[in-house]
Symmetry: C2
Subunit: 455 residues, 2 copies
Amino acid sequence: MELVNLYKDIDNFVDKEIELNGWIRNHRKQKEFGFIDFSDGTSFKHIQVVYDNKINDFDEIATLHNGSSIHVKGILIKSEGNKQDYEMKANFIKLLGDCPEDYPLQPKKHSREFLREIAYLRPRTNLFQAVFRIRSVAAHAIHTYFQDRDYVYLHAPLITASDCEGAGEMFQVTTLDIDNLKGKPDYKEDFFGKKTTLTVSGQLQGEIFAMAFNKIYTFGPTFRAENSNTKTHASEFWMIEPEIAFCDLDNLMEIEEDMLKYVVKYVLDKAKDEIEFLDKFVEVGLKEKLEILVDSNFTKIKFDEAINLLIDSNEKFEYTPIHGEDIAKEHEKWLTNHFNGPVFLTDWPKEIKAFYMKQNDDSKTVRAVDLLVPGAGELMGGSQREEDYDKLITRMDELNMDSKDMEWYLNLRKYGGCIHSGFGMGFERLLIYLTGVENIRDVIPFPRTPKTCEF
Amino acid sequence: MELVNLYKDIDNFVDKEIELNGWIRNHRKQKEFGFIDFSDGTSFKHIQVVYDNKINDFDEIATLHNGSSIHVKGILIKSEGNKQDYEMKANFIKLLGDCPEDYPLQPKKHSREFLREIAYLRPRTNLFQAVFRIRSVAAHAIHTYFQDRDYVYLHAPLITASDCEGAGEMFQVTTLDIDNLKGKPDYKEDFFGKKTTLTVSGQLQGEIFAMAFNKIYTFGPTFRAENSNTKTHASEFWMIEPEIAFCDLDNLMEIEEDMLKYVVKYVLDKAKDEIEFLDKFVEVGLKEKLEILVDSNFTKIKFDEAINLLIDSNEKFEYTPIHGEDIAKEHEKWLTNHFNGPVFLTDWPKEIKAFYMKQNDDSKTVRAVDLLVPGAGELMGGSQREEDYDKLITRMDELNMDSKDMEWYLNLRKYGGCIHSGFGMGFERLLIYLTGVENIRDVIPFPRTPKTCEF
């Protein structure tokens, strides 16, 4: 059976024989006894397997290495020790797959840097068992939230021929034989007959689908070829981008708040052991932080008013807050501290936001919103979209954008357009918040960053 | 409110006032009445909105174009006509977004080829409302199946530095300025410091995770740069690749069968209207085909025995079935006909299967399995994996594979390896089966195929 099922109904198995397949995480031997810290990977919880010298092949079993896979048969008993409530008294242990003594994962603390180098083994450690199971649970929370509310899940395309958003540097995708290029590449000969790149966002396709299905979301990989080696940047990451028709900015903020609370609550419910572990060893106070979020009131404040608050605060910031300019992480932090909870920052200067955002009547700001969360900074970015064809094309002209490439996007405004809004959430940013793990390289199974593309 | 919620509890709303936002799919006007075929995209079901000349702005409303977005207020009534059970008697209609008369989507039958050209509008048609909502529902069915059974969802990396499986031609990913290359490209200068491509499979990373979490699945995009323009090939498509530790080929087949039946049943339950529509207009008998699958027995037969059956059948095949060689679509069809249901074809000649598959003692065959389904052909391909380090490396040597690049993969056999198995299912292949739509371009929102990369 599996440990996850054993623990769902463990009292029912006491004094009964059970059989398990899994791995030796640690093995302590005494003269007449042995203790195996046993995990089968289906549950964050391990179980202690005890055997004594009455077992067949005691001497051989006593030599089993850490990391080996074994088959165990025995009786589940209520433990008398205080370290664990249950243990297994083995009457049969069989080696399935050996593991040499120089196994890189030893039962001791390894640095995260070292574990990144052996990313193919780190999922076996407690830390990464917790992180990657939470990644899985959180992904399902997101799907379940939207599907239960009748959103349509859109797989936006990954390979694209247009850099619509200009959101960053892009990877080129090609089948041209660039090792043997003679002169300039002829893109007519390339696979798609033109120059193509990896997408930076599925939003524009999301708008297409929102104009047909009303409420949609994407959840897929996006790419940035930014050459920055920071704790929060990866070249390949997953994004969630909901888009909703007949939805203004106020409705959008309600959805963002409702979704975030749902996902956090779902993870608290479904990954209890993992959260407890991270709370203890990674971010002290993590669990309380998440519980507080679920019950908190989200503040709404306009960008301009926030700048006033920052200026009036007399706080010594490294960067002086200035009207019309972007804010820094320290400002985000001050604001969430000041309001003691998450803050929706709305109505941003149009110059620092994307072309497709709904222009306010002041002709200076747009109906954009960033959600700032204590301990995470900006977690979501969204906006009402400009649904006015003329205003949109004027803005694109101002920004010297080629509207011909974007005719289909503009036409969404011409063919039964309507007020609509959407937001984007970087999945890894959410995971950093949910796990307390600080480096994006530690919430992605096999991270891709400048000069790193292993496994 | 939303149509989806209205229809969940429609009898409760009879004779009550409701408000809707959505689109005019068709508009018939008479002298004193108007009839709007109204859809808000949240439900496959539309509703008929009726208004008469007592409504404010009757003359203006009567001019509203197909495709326009409107806000409607009115009373829900039980309809006396026999075409629909309910309709809405409008007392207020407001135009939100106009749509010109030359709107490409007219209320008539458009060819699928034409609709592909306007892929940004086709989700508004009944056919694609059905197909893409089923795509969304089926995706969630797959997630729910695995999550309910404690599988961990793995996001396998998309950009990769190794062509492990050799499953096909690959797209190169680069940030080198190939428009201005001087001589050979220097991959040390490329973004990742080496040559990188888009993945063709997440299986090998799936094995890493199975050795840590026991039961895992991937569900993400994969890529093939094959220059083939067929109804079943796309350059970018989504794959599901479960991988399970302590699982042999027989267990694997049980999982495949159980999962497929679950997903089909889920779609039959949750997309009733869509399936009814497709059954009527796309594939007559679709619904029955799916219902039969859910209740059918899956046959298991060895490849060699299947070849014998094919040879003994005296059927005039275009390609003669030969021991040790691959079979053709006509053979697959004959087999599912013969067994009157899905067929697991096991123990394939090793020469035509991948290097990582578990070698049988006959040294000729491997523990591979293809699932053949009536009306779909091969729907899943899987195998038990070779867990023996020496056998695996010998096989790689035979195939002139560079085992140095794959050290981590080989090490999975050294560090507590165990019997394990997995399979892959192309999501679009499933969708073609579920919808009866024949061309893969019509089950992908924005398909990428040779020379085509639009939207």
